[in-house]
């Protein structure tokens, strides 16, 4: 195990799932990578990976007496291990977010880099847990005041739980950021991983049910995501401690 990274933004529409899969594919060139759709209430990673009809998903691992094994809910796609989440409201309501810790612990033992695609809110335990469980958070931002404001909240939540900042990633950018990027870095206390331009290739990839790095590897967005992965530099040497920390911290849902 190397590191658990949460991709979070605090608001919807910033491209967290696209980012998670793009970073995952890029990191998979040098690491063993597992990607988890931890957005249990509004899952969509399965639609980006052609797993719409997946039999077993994360939901099955978050109920008492797991309804599936971790192996059954893990799919090999695009050079990564992918754990999708289902979209059934009933399954979401039946799931216990506290069990995510155990699932993460099991997955962490078997992979180098674990990427958690986080929910677009901080208003529920299931939404905060990925940030709590991660070693570092990637804050995905759009250059708008609401996005920066919500991203700052994510950064502060992460700080409260001792989760570091891997950096900020500006996504869906039109035009030039100029001094905005420098000011964001100063206020967030985190460097810029990449500035990803808005790009039809990303929408086309989503429509095709593929990660953008697979669908349009030469697109401007794919190039920027690869640069971000290079900047991430997953940190080795945390094996064992990570899994132990998750196991020790298992608490019942209140």
């Amino acid at each position: 195990m190397v590191e658990v990274l949460a991709v979070a933004s605090g608001k919807g529409g910033t491209g967290k799932t696209t980012t998670t899969l793009a970073l995952g594919m890029a990191l998979a060139e040098t690491h063993d990578v597992t990607v988890v759709d931890a957005d249990t209430g509004m899952a969509n990673l399965l639609f980006h990976t052609g797993l719409d009809d997946a039999d077993a998903t994360l939901h099955d691992l978050l109920v008492g007496d797991r309804a599936a094994t971790v192996e059954a809910a893990t799919y090999e796609r695009y050079g990564m291990s992918v754990v999708p989440c289902g979209t059934s409201l009933a399954a979401f309501e039946a799931s216990d977010p506290a069990r995510l810790r155990g699932v993460v612990a099991d997955l962490a033992a078997e992979t180098d880099v674990l990427l958690l695609d986080s929910p677009a809110t901080l208003a529920a335990k299931s939404a905060v847990l990925p940030v709590v469980l991660a070693d570092r958070v990637v804050v995905t931002l759009q250059p708008t005041v609401p996005s920066l404001s919500d991203g700052l909240k994510v950064r502060e939540y992460a700080r409260s739980y001792g989760t570091g900042a891997a950096g900020v990633l500006f996504n869906k950018v039109h035009g030039r950021l100029g001094r905005v990027a420098d000011r964001v870095e100063a206020q967030f206390g985190a460097g810029t991983l990449a500035v990803v331009p808005d790009c039809d290739a990303v929408r086309d990839a989503r429509d095709a049910g593929e990660p953008v790095l697979a669908h349009a590897p030469d697109s401007a967005a794919a190039t920027a995501f690869r640069e971000a992965a290079t900047t991430l530099e997953p940190r080795p040497g945390r094996a064992g401690a990570v899994a132990d920390r998750f196991r020790e911290a298992v608490v019942p849902e209140s």
Partner: protein, 174 residues
Amino acid sequence: MTPDLGGRLVRARSVDRLGVSFARALTEHHTGYLRIVADGPLHAATGVVTVVDGVPVTAACDDGECGPAAVDALVSPGPSRVETYRCDQTALASLHDRADCRVPPDAPAERLGEDDLAARTRERAPADRATVDGATLLSFLGDDRRLETIRSEARAEAHADATDWGLDDALTDE
């Protein structure tokens, strides 16, 4: 030179007001591009502005200028020659995938001073095409008091939530 985008020529006009061409593209939900030959008294420029659903996406001049600079060069209040081409969005990928060619949806209308057209274009533009508004963002990022309020409220919420959700042990004292 701008890339050959192909497509079908649907009209060619010499216009006194370029805004008419952009307004018509918006009304017709046109997808394709406008090839513009600007022949103003101070400068001449040739290039394209691509549109999707009538909304400008990219701009590029034949001399290599692109993005907002190309809008400045191509879109001027004087007379212009405009050819309107229709084509599929995929044919525009060579420009749409270039971040340096992207322009704000309302850039041509703003350049022309046509406020109503600019507003209608912004209204039509997809929500995720919000343009970087540097001045507003820098104002926000420079407001230390406002940012500290956001931070302190987030810290308070995180601690309150941790108690509610049994995550107290995960909090740090930092």
